[in-house]
Amino acid sequence: MTVDVIQHASGDDAERTRMVWFAGIVVGLLALVPLIASRYALSVLILVFYFAYVGQAWNIMMGFAGQLSLGHALYIGIGAYVPALLWLHLGMSPILGLFAGMAAAMLIAAAIGWLGFRFGIEGVYFALLTIAFSEVARVAVDHIPFAGGAGGLFLPVPAANKATVLNLDGGPLLYYYITLAMAVAATALVAWLARSRHGYIWRAIREDPQAAETLGINLFSAKMRAILLSAAMTSVAGVVNAFYYRNLFPAQSFDMSRSLELILAPIIGGLGTVLGPVVGAFILTPAGEALIAVTHRMGLNAPGTKGVIYGLILMAMICLKPEGVWPWIARKLRLGDRA
């Protein structure tokens, strides 16, 4: 029996060390990519890192704590508008504004969480609740003049001598490293959470809330932690959104299609796993770009082509491999089921 203990423990550690080395090498390579990549490739990778990041944020709430939010665009929108407005009207650096956005997002998340978890609104109803909040925000911001309203909010490019990292003004190169860092940080956080007490508690809740309670788990506070963390993380993506594209429209920022697009990567990659959202983002985004290129070449220029194919992929995934692509790959690579 003692031999088993030693073997198993070192098996865990050896696996983990291998994973960390592997991840380190990949990140290192990615950091070097801008030396050889085209501007277009960089912009695609920025999207990959962006979706990996928000995917991880959503993964914490759904993959770990099991709470289905279909209105996550709400936090992106808040995280985008608040810092943008602070910068526009008060000249506040987005690096500071980011925290204001986070606070605002967490406040709203607390309201949603309180309504949902205190009143026992679960599953589908909870998902609808999150959609309702997002839609209310969309319509509301549409009608707030100083936020630009439906016409949109535009962030002017600062004059050359004022453009600094503090203003988050830079081309794709700056945002490449920002989003790469965000994706790496998010994945590291999720990896840590998965093995931490929080991770165990969330997974127990996801598997069987009632049984979890008999083991002393306070469902309300655990779920609140999940939604607050997820919202805070997601709001940071909003800042990037705002300052990279430099324009914001309520119809885009808060729209349900935004909420749906950010759940694709974690679902296809693998919910509740550490690398699932990353793998999902790496598959979906380039595939999407490739699809557009291919369909254009075939003469299918109609808007919506990409959507149909994404929908078919999603459907195939959920029917054939609902646990996602990554767990399947991980098993083949013998990397353990929770990597």
């Binding site: 093995r195 007490r197 127990a204 598997e207 069987d208 008999t214 083991l215 002393g216």
Partner: protein
């Protein structure tokens, strides 16, 4: 010394009185059995003690403090562990991870929690399966897992709901031995709902008999099986042979 006192506890479900003013007290370190026909209100009683249901009347007192009306997690924290009649392991988590969810209640350090979990697994003969997913286990193993997981929270009182159901006689004996050793070594008070009389006779210090939600007898196992009321409503005359 009384550890858990249930006093006049009642539960009604829309016209059906599932538990009817039941009172009993369990002493520290006792093994106390609750028996009775199906529908007698035994699981409902457990659910009220464990906090899953609120009593419509009556009180539940644990270590001198009232616990009726508290949330299940608060009651678990105060030291009452519980298993379910139909076992509820966390299916896609490994055996050891299942236990860790329990041991993390008392130990925030991950390695300590894991060590405690491993110790309990060894005690319950599940260590060799620690890396298996819970859903891959056979029923007897799942039953032991359910008990192990509850034990991981280091409870003062363990509520076991028909933990012998579906086990073969040899497995029943094994479980009885495990429960006896837990009670003897850690002093854990055990309250068990059981139909398997073999286990009740082997384990219980005292037995409570429920019928139609009401208490009809309480006493030592040897006395209970001779009680005419108990024989009439539940045991049947075969048990006298």
């Amino acid at each position: 010394m009384t550890l858990l006192a249930v006093d006049g506890v009642t539960k009604r479900f829309k016209g059906l009185t599932a538990v009817d003013a039941v009172s009993f007290a369990v002493g520290n370190g006792e093994i106390y059995a609750v028996i009775g026909p199906n529908g007698a209100g035994k699981t409902t009683l457990f659910s009220m003690i464990a906090g899953a249901l609120k009593p419509d009347a009556g009180t539940v007192t644990f270590a001198g403090a009232r616990i009726d009306g508290l949330r299940p997690d608060q009651i678990a924290l105060s030291g009452i562990g519980r298993t379910f009649q139909i076992v509820r392991p966390f299916p896609s988590m490994t055996v050891v991870d299942n236990l860790m969810v329990g041991s993390l209640l008392r130990h925030t350090n991950m390695s300590t929690a894991r060590a405690k979990a491993d110790a309990i697994l060894a005690r319950l003969d599940l260590f060799s399966q620690r890396a298996k997913l819970a859903r891959e286990l056979t029923l007897p193993d799942r039953k032991r897992l359910e008990v192990a997981r509850a034990l991981a929270t280091e409870p003062t009182v363990l509520l076991l709901d028909e933990v012998m159901a579906g086990l073969r006689p040899t497995e029943v004996d094994r479980m009885v031995a495990i429960l006896r050793s837990i009670n003897a070594e850690s002093g854990t008070t055990i309250i068990l709902i059981e139909h398997v009389m073999r286990a009740v006779m082997a384990l219980a210090n005292r037995v409570l008999v429920l019928h139609h939600g009401a208490r009809i007898a309480e006493g030592k196992p040897g006395d209970i099986v001779k009680d005419p009321e108990v024989i009439r409503s539940y045991l049947g005359t075969e048990v006298l042979d």
